[in-house]
């Protein structure tokens, strides 16, 4: 035996800190930002109604961000999420208001859920199929889809919003769970439950299933994954399809909240969604990150946006702040990585 005489030292404080920061940094920032905003807004940010409002808002973006985490883990991107939300939204609005008017509310609700997820998944499949089989970078393909499905939304709705959802359907966005059991009129909003369940399923899939490991492997080294027998194209198409389906879920919540299928729904969502994933620590190069980070990233964006609203910061300044945070998050990530290889 050769001597393995390399001296191993105890990890220093800095190393321990960086390790901790890597795992839980976003959560620390999240709590810190929340405390600061709570103080600045003289407690308004902590109000039950406000918190519930933030969570509802975050759920809409967060559900999509979960799917986007998979795509970014592959080292890919999808810019068309906002248009998928609008497209599926206008279809389910049309079903309720035009095509199935007067039918049983619950049957209509069921059909809406199925159609929203299926239509979203179909667009996702299209994105995945064209980009893998056509060997076109998904940046280009989904940029095309972004335009195509915004157009298709206008076409279906005739350029106008379709308003007046059924009572049963409105429960998706407005439903209040455990209202009788919680104090101070608090309740668990249905969108939050949907979001958390999806996060939990995604965390399980990414960590524990062969499909999840394949996503990390492809994102880490596509060639090695392919040579190890992973069907790279299939995994990519499936991941895009799932993201599309989750856009459908998000659209169910949004359409229900708005009580309307809007032509401009979901515009600019790609920014918030991608930002949530990146702030949550998933690497744009793929192969590293996860969905728990994305949960924190989405919450952070939601809390900051809400705080700026409460502090009555002008909307254009809000955009400036949001953009700066995205750059800052990536910068932090870079710094941390350079510490690791010091």
């Amino acid at each position: 035996m050769p001597s393995d005489a390399v001296e191993v030292e105890e990890a220093g404080f800095l190393q321990k800190f960086m390790w901790f920061w890597n795992k839980a940094g976003v959560f620390v920032v999240l709590v810190a930002v929340w405390v600061i905003l709570a103080v600045l807004s003289r407690g308004m940010a902590l109000g039950g109604a406000n918190v519930i409002n933030v969570i509802r808002q975050v759920s809409i973006i967060g559900v999509i961000a979960v799917g986007m985490t998979g795509v970014i883990l592959l080292g890919l991107i999808d810019l068309s999420v906002g248009s998928i939300v609008a497209f599926t939204g206008i279809i389910i609005a049309a079903i309720q208001v035009w095509w199935m008017k007067g039918q049983n509310e619950y049957l209509t609700l069921l059909i809406c859920i199925v159609v929203a997820i299926a239509a979203g998944a179909a667009v996702g499949f299209f994105n995945g199929f064209v980009s893998t089989k056509g060997r076109i970078h998904p940046f280009i393909v989904t940029l095309g889809s972004l335009t195509i499905f915004r157009g298709a939304t206008m076409f279906v709705g005739g350029g106008r919003p379709i308003t007046g959802m059924s009572q049963a359907f409105r429960y998706i966005g407005a439903g209040e769970l455990f209202k009788d059991y919680l104090p101070w009129g608090l309740f668990i909003p249905v969108p939050m439950v949907v979001f958390l369940v999806i996060v939990a399923i995604a965390a399980f899939v990414l960590r524990k299933t062969a499909f999840g490991r394949s996503i990390y492997a492809i994102g880490g080294n596509q060639e090695a994954a392919y040579l190890s027998g992973i069907m790279v194209d299939r995994v990519k198409i499936a991941t895009f399809t799932i993201l599309g389906g989750l856009c459908g879920v998000s659209s169910l919540i949004l359409t229900s909240r708005l009580n309307s299928g809007e032509v401009v729904a979901g515009q600019g969502y790609e920014l918030d969604v991608i930002a949530s994933v990146i702030i949550g620590g998933t690497s744009m190069n793929g192969g590293e990150g996860g969905v728990i980070g994305t949960l924190a990233g989405a919450l952070l964006i939601g809390v900051i946006q809400n705080g700026l609203n409460l502090l009555m910061v002008q909307p254009y300044w809000q955009l400036v702040v949001k953009g700066a945070i995205i750059i800052l998050a990536v910068l932090m990530d870079r710094l941390q990585r350079s510490f690791q290889t010091l």
Partner: protein
């Protein structure tokens, strides 16, 4: 040695990384105008040393003296300006720019109007190139050059910066024998001009051919620094490995069994032409031939990566057509690819996750991984392959080359395939790890696996094969059985002598 002759001097230099002491009190001197070889197993600390010299890292303690003064580089650019250049295995050139532009990249000659002085740049490039190798055209795109000529461009680039020390990291790994002679001629010329060369190589014979002095590193420490004239090969290897290597090629005859793989008339347009051979259980068949003779392409075609235009592959007597590696894997074939970092491993993933990669289906129930089984299998592979890692959760990128290759072997071994396709199984790994890999090959052989081994290293082919297929221009030029296996017999077929 006279103090003044040392262009570079390490004095008790140490480098600490989180959890690892990469260099421990390293002391040695490099004389001006010599070729100084740096040898040692992977992970011995060579790369760390180079990174300190080139300003990528800073030593944690001790001194480094360059031309008698303390070396303090804030970044790699300062090292370049001070005259220290490294030429890495992965060459750092811009493929779409011309040779001249690459030579002067970062310090383009300017005219009075602050635009690029193309005429001066071409003229200076021509001067540098004619000194080194007259065949390289300064106007050619770097993309169009072979690896050896690219190296010449890198050397010219170093000279254009007035380099006093040129560090060459495994310069001969990817170039053919003839070009190695040219490279050595250039190195000797540089030495005469007073340039100091630090030469890193796994090839001991090269060290004796080109170097004046050699420093042996092991586990982050300097074992010895000697003149190459005062030491012989076995002694040097012993110093590197820390033990005596009794046999460099531990060949076992074995007993070939039934035929497991048969390739009939396999062709791929423009690449492979009418290839036929068979492979039996428990034998190692070497595949030799010049670079570009179609060796790697043959493995790719069998493994289902590249489509074949005609011919057939039989596994255990049944005709099979593989559309993707997955099909080949399911038929019991494994491929150890040529480039382990780009094709063999997911460097970001842990040792355990890499071992599980080919077995995701096999080790899951309805898609859910059986984590405990994976952990058990990985642990078994670690002890079987002697993978040296602090933990199975360690990222593969932190392992040394030899240990990485053992992980690649382990990930296949865990699936227990019957046919192994090895492409350059020991490229870039040190002598000690090589022998370990050969021993594993013997073990596979005993267990009845068949191995098809492509290698550019003739001694390895001669040392480990039961018989050898020699390829030339996409065809099998001939087969040499072990009894008649000599370097001449293989080379004759490879470069086009008469058939045996």
């Amino acid at each position: 040695m006279d103090e003044n002759d040392a262009i570079l001097k390490f004095e008790d230099t140490s480098k600490r990384f989180p959890g690892v002491l990469a260099l421990s009190n390293v002391s040695f001197a490099v004389e001006k105008g010599t070729v100084h070889a740096l040898v040692g197993e992977n992970g011995a600390g060579k790369s760390t040393l180079i990174k300190i010299l080139t300003g990528v890292h800073k030593q944690s303690s001790g001194r480094v003296l360059y031309q008698g003064r303390d070396l303090h580089f804030g970044d790699p650019h300062q090292a370049l300006l001070a005259g220290i250049t490294a030429i890495y295995q992965e060459l750092n050139l811009a493929p779409t720019l011309s040779v001249a532009e690459n030579i002067f990249l970062g310090h383009l000659p300017k005219t009075g109007a602050d635009t690029v002085d193309w005429a001066a740049m071409r003229a200076k490039s021509r001067d540098l190139l004619s000194f080194l190798d007259g065949e390289v055209d300064p106007n050619a795109l770097v993309r169009s050059l072979g690896v050896a000529k690219k190296q010449v461009v890198e050397i010219a680039k170093a000279l254009s910066m007035d380099a006093r020390i040129i560090i060459m990291d495994e310069p001969t790994a990817a170039i053919p024998k003839k070009e190695i002679d040219t490279l050595f001629r250039i190195i000797r010329m540089l030495r005469e001009k007073g340039v100091t060369i630090i030469y890193i190589s796994h090839h001991i014979d090269e060290v004796f051919e080109i170097a004046d002095r050699v420093t042996v590193l092991r586990d982050g420490r300097v074992v010895e620094t000697r003149n190459t004239g005062e030491i012989d090969e076995p002694e040097l290897i012993k110093l590197m490995v820390g033990r005596e290597l009794t046999k460099q090629y531990p060949y076992h005859p074995g007993a070939p069994g039934a035929e497991v793989l048969r390739v009939e008339n396999l062709s791929r347009r423009g690449v492979l032409h009418g290839i036929s051979f068979s492979l039996r259980a428990g034998e190692v068949v070497g595949v030799s031939g010049m670079v570009g003779s179609g060796r790697t392409e043959l493995l790719r075609a069998i493994y289902g990566i590249d489509p074949i235009s005609s011919g057939a592959v039989y596994v255990n007597g049944a005709a099979r057509r593989f559309k993707a590696p997955r099909d080949a894997i399911e038929a019991g074939i494994a491929l150890l690819p040529e480039e382990r970092k780009t094709s063999g491993l997911v460097l970001l993933m842990s040792v355990m996750d890499n071992i599980g990669l080919p077995s995701l289906q096999k080790m899951s129930t309805r898609g859910v991984m059986r984590d405990r089984e994976l952990a058990r299998t990985s642990e078994r592979m670690r002890s079987l392959m002697n993978i040296r890692t602090p933990s199975l959760r360690q990222r593969v990128m932190n392992l040394s080359g030899g240990n990485q290759q053992k992980v690649v072997l382990g990930k296949w071994f865990a699936r227990d395939p019957k046919i192994y396709l090895f492409d350059e199984p020991t490229r870039g790994i040190d002598v000690g790890a090589k022998v370990e890999i050969y021993n594993l090959m013997n073990r596979l052989k005993e267990q009845g696996a068949a191995i098809l081994m492509v290698s550019s290293e003739l001694p390895e082919i001669l040392g480990m094969s039961d018989r050898v297929l020699v390829m030339r221009e996409g065809r099998i030029a001939g087969e040499v059985p072990r009894e008649r296996l000599t370097q001449e017999a293989v080379l004759k077929l490879a470069i086009g002598g008469e058939k045996i």
